[in-house]
Structure formats: structure tokens, C-alpha cells
């Protein structure tokens, strides 16, 4: 473990991020550009995210399956705008004589829907709700960053088919709100949710819903999307069903996904100058018990504390004799472990525990017999982190009413809200210089759009995006 201090976040966020990823051993860089290893500690975070979210999906009756990594060119071409949208970043296999050109999945609509057309016969087969956890390949031309943008990444992609447009559209929104609730409850992240402007929609979607955050450096980060696909794909892939009335219709579809990028968001939003700060619900280790010295009496008491906690909490004693107490404190701060319990002679004599909260460095002393308070403190940390993330986003977002104000605030690293007309011309104009992130349900806060036309909605804009 490297011991030098991290670059300060405020000084250079990108450098800080890179250092945290490296020093906390979250990612390692391969010799292929934009390809990373997810190291054990980060993978544990991903396991906690995926396990919890998978449970939520199953509660809703979504079934997991596994579809091929590969898709033929003709299959990928079936929905034209989808193909055109993904073509620049598709990785192709070396052609074999006699075989059709084969691509690696950049997403699985074109792979799954061929099968849906075989599996769906009647309204009785609907809604069909399928999900897969898998790797995805997009041969990015953009700048890559560990967890945030990589040429291969892990994700979950859900795909549903419905009998009516209304039901599908509702489900796409439900899926978005399920993500919102999940990132709030588990990752303690506050997001802006709404729909994408036309120019930012998923290739092949009728509507794309999105969760957005703004990073400390002012760039936007899309955290999850949900698409109402209408009949765009079902018509291309011939996914027909027999209606209750005995007619034939094409199904209405949705697709939605979240990725390991969530880990990038966790690092970026919650982290501080000492390293990671992990929300207790998904922290690989929730409590670390550190004896001040490596002495038997202290270790015994530490083990006793561990034993009391281990049934309900992910807890460990650091009994390593190589490193000093001070080194250990820094190390677990770097790893973002929510609670440190320090055990010294004083603690043993007074049968008390010194509990240090990672999120705000406060120290609490509790009696050994009050140890059942620890889970409560973890809950408190989770809640405090969410409040802090809310306050952060609130501070980062500013309402602007003129183009000049917009430019100035974006340059200063803020996310801007404008009352928006929603016209095509205005969208084209704005997207020349800025990144148009999300249109929300909020009422316009002024009568006119910054272009002068009547305002109809609210649009969030950043200078650029990851």
C-alpha cells in the first residue's frame, strides 16, 4: 500500500480520482487502451450492488437469462437507427470465410429480440420480463476512465415486452424510478431524473429516461437509463402476439440498464481528501476493529467485539503486526470503511468502545453492553451521506435565465437549469456548445426560454459529460 497523501480533490479532481482508484486497489490498467481489471475490493462493491438489485428485480417477477456475446451484422442492422447509433463503437470479430460478419454486443436488443419473436405467441406470454448480468463491449473513441467509461464494462440490462403502449411506457418509468430509489437507498446518491432531449435518446428508442448527476469538476455523469422502445424493435424483429380479442399486434417494449459506472459515482460524490467514503449498505467491510497495539489483551477484546457484531454486520479485526496503528487508521480511511472501532487500554479498562465515523470523523464512545447501537450508527451514516449528497447536488445546480448566465455558470463547473421551449432549433443551438442532460417534470421557473420562445419544461445542462 502506498502511503503518500492523496492530491486534494479541489485542487485536481481527475488526479485525485486516479489516485484513489490506484491506491485503494480498485482498478488496474491493462495494456489495451480503455480496458481495466476490477480488483477484489471494487468487485465486492459490485457484488453488493448487483446482489441487492437482483433481489429487487426478482421481487418484480423479472427473470434472469444469458444471451450470446455475439450478434451477426444483419441482425444488428435490423433496426436501422439502432445500428447507425452503435456502429462507430462496435468491435467486430475477424471475418472467417463462409461465416457472416460478427459483432460483440454493444447492448443486446438486436440479440434478444430475435428470440423474443420465437418465445412470445399470445397475450398470455406478456408481459415478458427478462434481465441479464453480463459484460458489454464498446470500442470507445472518447476518453476512458476506470469505472466511468471503459471499452468493456459490466452491467445489468432489462428487457420487457407488453401488450399495450401505455403499459410499456409506464413500465419504462417504473424501471427508472426503481433505479432512482435504489441509488438513493443503497448508494446514498441524489440524482436528477427525467427524460433525454431528442438528440440524446438511445438509438431506436421512442423515449429515453435518465438519472443524472454532476461531478465535482462540473461534468455530467449519466447513472442509468430506461427506454420506452414502443414498437420500433418489435416491428423490425417481427415480435407479434395474439391479442385477447384474437387479433395480431406487435409488442411494445422497454429496455433499461445500470453499470459498474455506479462505482465511479460512489467514488466521485462521496469521496474526500482521505479517500473513499462508502455507504454502509454496499461497503464490503462495514466495521473495522483496530487495536492500538498488537497485544494479546487488546486483540482478545477486539475479537470479543467482532464476535458480537459478525452476525449482522460485515466486520473484521485488523490483527496484522506489520503496520502501525496510525498507518491502519489511514488505510481504512482510504478504503472508506464506514466505522472504525479503536481498542486501547483505556477502552478495556472502562469496557467502552471508541467508534469513529468515516463520513464526518466524529468519535462516539459507547459502553460495550450498548454494542447493539452499531447497526444504528451504520444506518445513521447511510442517512447522513444521503443528506450530504443532496446538499452537494443542490449547491451544484443553479437556475439561469440568460445565455450569458448559462455560459458563466457552466464554465464555473455548475449544472444549469433553464426554463425551456423544447424546440428543435433551440436544442440544436444549445447542443453545439453544451451537453443537454435531462428534461424534468418541474414547472418552468420563467415564462420564456433563453432563446425567447415560450418555456414549456425545465432542461438541465452541463458544460460537458463523462
Amino acid at each position: 500500500m502506498v502511503s503518500e497523501k492523496l492530491t486534494q480533490r479541489k485542487e485536481n479532481f481527475a488526479k485525485w480520482y486516479e489516485e484513489v482508484v490506484k491506491k485503494a486497489r480498485l482498478c488496474d490498467y491493462s495494456n489495451i487502451h480503455g480496458i481495466y481489471v476490477i480488483m477484489p475490493y471494487a468487485y465486492k462493491i459490485w457484488e453488493n450492488i448487483s446482489k441487492n438489485f437482483d433481489h429487487i428485480l426478482k421481487e418484480d417477477g423479472v427473470e434472469n437469462a444469458y444471451f450470446p456475446l455475439f450478434v451477426t451484422e444483419s441482425q444488428l442492422k435490423r433496426e436501422a437507427s439502432h445500428f447507425n447509433g452503435f456502429t462507430p463503437e462496435v468491435a467486430w470479430l475477424e471475418e472467417k470465410s463462409g461465416e457472416e460478419k460478427i459483432a460483440i454486443r454493444p447492448t443486446s436488443e438486436a440479440i434478444m429480440y430475435e428470440f423474443f419473436s420465437k418465445w412470445i405467441e399470445s397475450y398470455r406470454d406478456l408481459p415478458l420480463k427478462i434481465n441479464q448480468w453480463c459484460n458489454i463491449v464498446r470500442w470507445e473513441i472518447k476518453m476512458t476512465h476506470p469505472f466511468i467509461r471503459s471499452r468493456e464494462f459490466l452491467w445489468q440490462e432489462g428487457h420487457t415486452a407488453h401488450a399495450t403502449a401505455k403499459e410499456a411506457e409506464n413500465y419504462a418509468l417504473e424501471a427508472l424510478n426503481r433505479y432512482k430509489k435504489f441509488v438513493e437507498d443503497y448508494l446514498a446518491l441524489e440524482v436528477v431524473s427525467g427524460r433525454k432531449p431528442e438528440s440524446e435518446k438511445f438509438p431506436g428508442a421512442e423515449t429515453t429516461y435518465t438519472l443524472e448527476i454532476v461531478m465535482p469538476d462540473g461534468k455530467a455523469l449519466q447513472l442509468g437509463t430506461s427506454h420506452f422502445l414502443s414498437q420500433n424493435f418489435s416491428k423490425a424483429f417481427g415480435i407479434k402476439f395474439k391479442t385477447k380479442e384474437g387479433n395480431s399486434d406487435f409488442v411494445y417494449q422497454t429496455s433499461w440498464g445500470i453499470t459498474i459506472r455506479l462505482i465511479g459515482a460512489l467514488i466521485s460524490i462521496h469521496g474526500d481528501d482521505r479517500g473513499l467514503v462508502l455507504p454502509p449498505k454496499i461497503a464490503p467491510l462495514q466495521v473495522i476493529i483496530i487495536p492500538t497495539k498488537n497485544e494479546k489483551q487488546l486483540l482478545n477484546f477486539a475479537k470479543e467485539v467482532e464476535k458480537k457484531l459478525e452476525k449482522s454486520i460485515r466486520v473484521k479485526v485488523d490483527d496484522d503486526s506489520l503496520h502501525s496503528f496510525g498507518w491502519k487508521l489511514n488505510h481504512y480511511d482510504l478504503l472508506g470503511v464506514p466505522i472504525k472501532i479503536e481498542i486501547g487500554e483505556k477502552e478495556i479498562n472502562e469496557k467502552e468502545l471508541t467508534v469513529v465515523k468515516r463520513n464526518d470523523s466524529t468519535k462516539i464512545r459507547i459502553k460495550f453492553e450498548e454494542i447493539e447501537k452499531i447497526p444504528k450508527i451504520l444506518e445513521q451514516i447511510q442517512a447522513e451521506m444521503f443528506e450530504k449528497a443532496k446538499a452537494y447536488l443542490k449547491e451544484k445546480i443553479v437556475e439561469v435565465k440568460s445565455y450569458k448566465e448559462l455560459e458563466k455558470n457552466l464554465k464555473e463547473g455548475r449544472m444549469c437549469k433553464i426554463s425551456w421551449c423544447g424546440s428543435k432549433e433551440c436544442e440544436e443551438e444549445l447542443s453545439k456548445n453544451f451537453s443537454l442532460r435531462v428534461i424534468t417534470d418541474e414547472k418552468p421557473f420563467s415564462e420564456k426560454c433563453i432563446c425567447g420562445k415560450e418555456a414549456k419544461s425545465v432542461l438541465y445542462i452541463t458544460n460537458s459529460a463523462y
Copy 2:
């Protein structure tokens, strides 16, 4: 669901297998040769296998991570025999100008060990125990079969690094025995375990250990392998460590894997003329409750039974009104659900349950208040299935003492044991016509090998292998 009967297993095993896979909706065929979809029911089996095995790995201190799908040609070439062994079935990406030729992982030694050389510094970092659950691509030229051999498959690959040869060799055996125990305990499969003859070793391994079964058609199926890699890879990848004594040495390594092929083994060994027979421990559904008619009174009682069971058991009531009672019985037999509980008027009047065991079709009547017997019956089924698998394998294997006997028995679909000399010439000669599967620790049962030389070990042979 198709309702025609299955082909009889004895009549045509390959056809029976294909029909079960299709009718029980386990797999679907893509338009790329040898590429399949793992459908939800089969994926649930895989989830139960992987979840349970992952838990066992974690108990041993193995940590999960995720390594790239891609490897550059030069990386793959570092260990020469490894590269030569895998080259014929490697899938390559279309070359991009200015980038090195890139392959899709056929296994991850060449990908992971580059990182191990960075992560391992001293004996304190050993043993390193890393595992990943991922997809693997081998562009097979051989015949493909769903679950058994496909161009893309899911697996778990474990990789360890140790300070001494002894420790690594022991760990490779431990990993094999862990697989053996797992397939026995969870999949109720009896296997032959031992090491591979020289010509059948993993490319780059010093010793390859294997679990083998013989299929009803007489072909062998390798279920899992564990390799002692010695320093073959650590020297190629420069994985050095500082010893306790302050010297520098290359680590000793192991790698080991099991795949979705385990599902193919489950289908093949436990199945019968009515379809799947699944071991309760990994069955997606352990108990199905089927009312004889779709009447409220029966449904209510069924729900009551479900409620009593659902805390400890994967159970469902089939309250579908579309299909007949008879259709349902056949359907859940096809799916291999371990226990059917039939609920009719008689059962309600007598407050009794009719319990039908899938594995041997026996009917048991138990009082409603004895419902806690159900988990016991599931355990009994698991044990009976294992006993049956043992008896099956015992019957399939025959000891032979002459070449003539060997030929005759292999032709008749048996697996043969010979007392073996272990010589290179004999191995070459035998492997011209047969598939040499595994060398065990058993004592030779005759003094001479079938080639006439002195027997030193026991070798298992089949006519061919999947």
C-alpha cells in the same frame, strides 16, 4: 409447451437430450453455429450452482475479481505451449490499424498473470487466491451441444499463487476435491477423479487433475479440471516474490474451473423418459403444488400448504386455469421438479397431502400437520439420486485385461479401466483409437498392462468424449 412424448433415452440418447433441452425451455439456438441462449429456467439452475459454489470459495478465502475479456497476441504467446494449445480455437478481433492483434479470452491465465506480476511482491502476499465468474469464447471446430460444448460458455476460473511447489500442488488437489465434494453433495453426481495422461493435459500445466463421468451413450464428459502449473507461467510472466529468507523466487501456481457443462451432466445422468430429474439442492423449484381442479376450496388449501413451506423451500402453487391437471403433472415432470403435492377433495376431507417423488414416482401420503416432513423428503430424494448415480457409474465401468476386451466394451458404450504401464509408447498407441480420460490412485488389478509391460496405475478409457 409442446405436449408430444419425448424420444426414449435408450432408443436415441442424443435425440432425447436435444428434445429435453428444447421442451423444458433450457436453451435456444442462435443463428451463429455453436452459440446458445441460456433460458431462465436453466439460468436459475446455474444461479443455484454458482451461488452455492461461490459461498464455498469465499469460505476458503478466495476473492472474486473481474479481468478483461481481451488479451493481446503477444501476451497470449508468452507461455508457448499454452498459446499453441489454444490457438486453433481462439477468436480474434478485426485488426485495427496501429493496435496489436487482440484475442477474446479462451481462458485467463495469460490475462491475469500479467497483473499477478504487479500485485505480488513478497511472501506476505501469498497465497494469492483469485476467482472470476465470466464468459469464455472458444471457436470450436468440434461438434457443439447445448451446455456441453459451445463457442461461448459461462464458467468460474480460480487462480492461485503460492510460495512453494508442494503448497501449490496440494492446493490443485484440494481444488479438485472441492469440486468432487460439490458435485456429489449438490448435483448428486458420482465421478471418477484423478489426473490426466500427459497427452491430455491443459496446455501449460505440469499436472492436470480431472473429474470425469461417462454419458449414457458411452462418451466421456470432463466435469471440472484443476491444474498444477508449477512455475511454467510465473517464469513466462515474471511473477517473482521475495521469500522469507530474503531471496527472490518465481511463484508456483494453480488454476481450476467448472462450467455450465455441469447442467449438461445433470440433464444427462439424472434425466429419464419423462424429462429432467433435478437434485433438490439446485432445483429452481423444489415443490410444486397442483390442485386437481381449479376450484376455490382446493386453491385455498393449496395456498395454505404453500405458506407453510415457503420459508424454507422453493415452492409454488400452479393455479393456472388454462391447462388440465394431467397436463400439469407431465409438465412438472418434464421440468424435473423434485416433489409434486397433489391436492384434491380427498386430501381436503382427510387433511392429508399426496406427495409424489419425481425421482422414483413413489406416492407418499402425509398428514397436513406432518408437513415439516417435506424438507426431509427432499433430503431423501437428494440422497437417493446420488445412490442411483453411483450405481449407474458402477454399472457403466468395467475392468478389462486385454485389448480385445477393451475394444468390445468401448464399442458397447462402457467406460473401461485398465491396469496401466504409463509408458509414452502405450499412451500414444491407445490414444490413436480411444479417449484416455483419467489416471486414478487405485492399485492396478493385474500385474501387466494390456501392452504387456508392468502395470503401475489404473487408466480409464472411453471410445470418445464430448
